[in-house]
C-alpha cells in the first residue's frame, strides 16, 4: 500500500507540478485550477502505465483526488 501511495504521489507531482507531500495529499479536481481534461488524460495514462492496469472511461472520470486514486489503484491491484 505504501508503494502505491508513493507512486501515486510521484505521478500527481509530475502531472500537476506540485512538490510538497501535504499539497499532493489534498489535491483534488475541485480545488486545483490546472486540473483540466488534458491533465486528466495524462494522469490516467500515467496510472495505467505505472500500475499496468486499464481504467474504463467511466472510472477515469471519477478519479478526481489523491485519496480516490489511491483507493482505486489499491482495489485494482488486489483484484489482479
Amino acid at each position: 500500500m505504501q508503494d502505491i501511495e508513493q507512486i501515486v504521489k510521484e505521478i500527481l507531482s509530475a502531472v500537476f507540478k506540485v512538490s510538497s507531500s501535504s499539497s499532493i495529499e489534498s489535491l483534488s479536481m475541485a480545488t486545483e485550477t490546472s486540473w483540466d481534461s488534458m491533465k486528466q488524460l495524462t494522469l490516467i495514462t500515467a496510472l495505467e502505465n505505472e500500475f499496468d492496469i486499464f481504467i474504463e472511461a467511466a472510472e477515469a472520470a471519477n478519479l478526481t483526488s489523491y485519496e480516490i486514486i489511491v483507493k482505486f489503484v489499491s482495489n485494482h491491484s488486489e483484484m489482479d
Binding site: 509530475a14 495514462t45 500515467a46 495505467e48 474504463e56
Partner: protein, 549 residues
C-alpha cells in the same frame, strides 16, 4: 528503450540544449497519450521533438489533399486506415470486396503516402473486424497490407501494441504499456534521414560494449563475450561488426585504456572480432572526441560519416558535444533494448549494394593509414551535463567490520591508483587498528546506483596512503571532488600523498600533472590545498554529498 511514465517525465524535466526536430505526427486516432514518451525517447536519441497532430479521424482526408507534403511526417497506421470497414469503432458493416479490390485500396494509400517526400511509416497490424465473407481472404488481405508497406520501408510494429479497450474508450488504439515502445521506434527512425547515404565508419568502445566487464578491473578471465551467458549480446555485437566490415564499413576501436591492456583480449583469442579486423585501434586516456577527430583526419573521412558506440553516457555526451555531426549510440544496458540497438546500427549503415572492392576496404585503408599521433586536445566541457545527472556521492568511514569492498577496490584497480600497492585482510585490519582512516565512496545518479566506486586510506598523520577509483566512473570529476572533500574535512594547508608511478596508473599521473602538485626529494607528492580549492571551489556543487562518519 522502454520507459515508464515517471522515467519519461524525469527525462523531459531536465533542461537541455539539444537540437529540435519538427514533424507532423499523422494518425487517425488519438495520439496525445504518446507525448511524454515521445519527447523522452527523442531526448534519449539526442534531440528534442516538436510535432503537430491531426484532428481525430482526419487522416484519410489529410493524405488525400497531400498538403505540407515537403515537411517531415510520421505516419502511424492501423488496418482501418486502409479499410475503414475494419474499424472497431464503426461496428461491422455490410458490403464486401475481393482481394483485387483490396489490393487497389492498399496501392492507393501507398501512392498517397509516397507524395510525402520525407516520411516515416509505422504500422500496427491490429486485429480487425471481419471485412470479407471469408476468414482466409481476410487473413490474406491483412498480410498483403504488411507486404505492401514493407516495400516502402515501413516499420511493422507488434500486434500487441493495439489495445481495443483503450481504442473504444478514448480513441487511442495504443496500449498504455506500449506507448514507450511506439515512441522509441519513432524516435529511432527520426535520427536517420530517409534516403541518407550509409555511414562509413563505426567507432566502438571496448569495456561493456565489445565484452561484458571492464578489462582493467576484471582481467581477461573476468570479461565475457561468448555465445552464452552474460556475454551473449556482446558476442552478437562482435559478429555484427564482422558483417559490417565484410560489407566495407570501417571499424575503429576507441578506448580509455593503455595499449597493452586494451589489446589483451584480442591477443588471448578471447574475441570473435580480432585486432586485425579493426582499421585502427586507439587506446589513450585523452578525450575520445580528440581521438576520433584525429582518426577521421588521418583516414580523410568526414565527421558526419561516423557512428560512435559507447555504454557510458558521459563519453557519448563528450563526443557529441565536441563533434556535433557524429551519430552517437548507447550500447543497451538491458538485453530487451538490444534488438532496437542493432536496428539503429542497421539504419545508419544502410547499403544499396556491396561490391568486391567494398569487401577489401579495411585492408585498403590500413595500408594508407599511418600511425596516428595522440591528439591531446581537451574534451568537451561537461559541467552542465554532469549537473543534470543529479549525482549523489555518499562517503562512509569503514572499520574492521566493513572494509571488504575497500580491499577489493585497492587490489583490483590499476589505472586510477595512487601507487599500485596491494593489501591483505590482515594488513588492512592492522592499518585500522593503528588509527588509519578508511573512507569508501558510493555514487548514484538519476539513472541508478553505480555502487562503491572509490576509497581513500589516510595514515594517522592524515597523509593519503591509498587512493583508488573505479575506471567505470571516469569523466565525472569524482576524483577532484574527493580531494576537495578531503581538504575541507581535514583542514590542512597541505595534503601529502604516497604516490608512486606505475606502468598502469596513467590516469592518476594525468590528474597530478599540473602546478598544484609537487614532488619533493623524498618522492612525497604534495598538494597545495589553498590553490587547489581556488581552482576547484565549485567542484562539490556537482554532487549531493552525504557523509556517514
Amino acid at each position: 528503450m522502454s520507459l515508464n511514465f515517471l522515467e519519461a517525465n524525469n527525462i523531459i524535466s531536465v533542461e537541455n540544449e539539444l537540437e529540435t526536430k519538427k514533424f507532423i505526427l499523422a494518425a487517425s486516432g488519438q495520439v496525445e497519450k504518446l507525448d511524454v514518451f515521445l519527447k523522452a525517447n527523442c531526448i534519449l536519441n539526442s534531440f528534442n521533438c516538436q510535432y503537430t497532430t491531426l484532428p481525430f479521424n482526419t487522416l484519410q482526408q489529410y493524405i488525400s489533399t497531400a498538403s505540407e507534403c515537403e515537411k517531415e511526417h510520421v505516419f502511424l497506421l492501423f488496418p482501418w486506415d486502409v479499410f475503414p470497414e475494419a474499424d472497431w469503432r464503426t461496428g461491422v458493416t455490410l458490403g464486401d470486396f475481393s482481394f483485387d479490390e483490396a489490393q487497389d485500396r492498399i496501392d492507393d494509400l501507398i501512392k498517397k503516402i509516397n507524395c510525402f517526400t520525407s516520411s516515416h511509416v509505422f504500422y500496427i497490424p491490429a486485429r480487425t473486424l471481419p471485412v470479407t465473407f471469408n476468414y482466409e481472404l481476410s487473413q490474406q488481405i491483412e498480410h498483403q497490407i504488411i507486404l505492401s508497406l514493407l516495400k516502402i520501408n515501413a516499420t511493422i510494429l507488434a500486434e500487441n501494441y493495439f489495445s481495443i479497450s483503450s481504442y473504444l474508450a478514448n480513441g487511442c488504439a495504443i496500449s498504455s504499456k506500449k506507448l514507450s515502445d511506439v515512441s522509441s521506434a519513432i524516435a529511432g527512425s527520426l535520427i536517420v534521414k530517409r534516403n541518407s547515404s550509409s555511414k562509413k565508419i563505426l567507432f566502438t568502445d571496448f569495456d561493456n560494449v565489445m565484452w561484458r566487464g571492464v578489462i582493467g578491473e576484471d582481467g581477461v578471465d573476468g570479461i565475457q563475450c561468448d555465445a552464452e551467458g552474460a556475454g551473449y549480446t556482446h558476442f552478437i555485437y562482435q559478429s555484427y561488426l564482422l558483417k559490417l566490415k565484410s560489407q566495407g564499413i570501417l571499424i575503429a576501436g576507441i578506448t580509455k585504456n593503455d595499449d597493452e591492456l586494451a589489446s589483451l583480449p584480442f591477443r588471448c583469442e578471447k574475441t570473435l572480432f580480432k585486432a586485425s579486423d579493426f582499421v585502427t585501434l586507439s587506446a589513450s586516456y585523452h578525450a575520445k572526441s580528440s581521438q576520433i577527430k584525429q582518426i577521421l583526419i588521418d583516414l580523410n573521412l568526414d565527421v558526419d560519416s561516423a557512428v560512435f558506440i559507447d555504454d557510458n553516457p558521459i563519453e557519448l555526451e563528450e563526443v557529441k558535444n565536441k563533434l556535433n555531426d557524429i551519430c552517437c549510440l548507447a550500447f543497451p544496458t538491458k538485453d530487451e533494448g538490444f534488438p532496437d540497438f542493432i536496428g539503429q546500427i542497421q539504419r545508419y549503415f544502410n547499403l544499396a549494394n556491396v561490391t568486391e572492392d567494398d569487401k577489401k576496404r579495411t585492408e585498403l585503408y590500413k595500408t594508407r593509414y599511418k600511425s596516428s599521433i595522440i591528439n591531446t586536445e581537451q574534451g568537451a566541457n561537461l559541467t552542465e551535463y554532469l549537473k543534470s545527472l543529479q549525482m549523489q556521492l555518499t562517503i562512509k568511514q569503514c572499520d574492521a567490520t566493513n572494509f571488504h569492498r575497500t580491499l577489493q577496490l585497492i587490489n583490483k584497480t590499476n589505472q586510477f591508483n595512487l601507487n599500485g600497492m596491494r593489501l591483505t585482510d590482515t594488513e588492512i585490519i592492522e592499518l585500522i587498528n593503528k588509527e588509519n582512516t578508511l573512507f569508501l565512496f558510493t555514487l548514484a545518479d538519476k539513472f541508478g546506483s553505480h555502487g562503491q566506486i572509490a576509497c581513500v586510506i589516510l595514515s594517522e598523520n592524515k597523509d593519503v596512503e591509498y587512493f583508488v577509483m573505479s575506471c567505470r566512473v571516469f569523466q565525472r570529476q569524482i576524483e577532484y571532488a574527493i580531494i576537495a572533500w578531503l581538504i575541507k574535512h581535514l583542514k590542512l594547508p597541505e595534503l601529502k600523498l604516497n604516490f608512486q608511478r606505475t606502468p598502469k596508473n596513467i590516469p592518476f599521473q594525468m590528474m597530478i600533472d599540473n602546478d598544484l602538485y609537487t614532488i619533493n626529494s623524498s618522492s612525497v607528492l604534495k598538494l597545495d590545498t589553498t590553490s587547489y580549492m581556488d581552482k576547484y571551489k565549485n567542484i562539490l556543487n556537482l554532487f549531493e554529498v552525504d557523509v556517514d562518519i
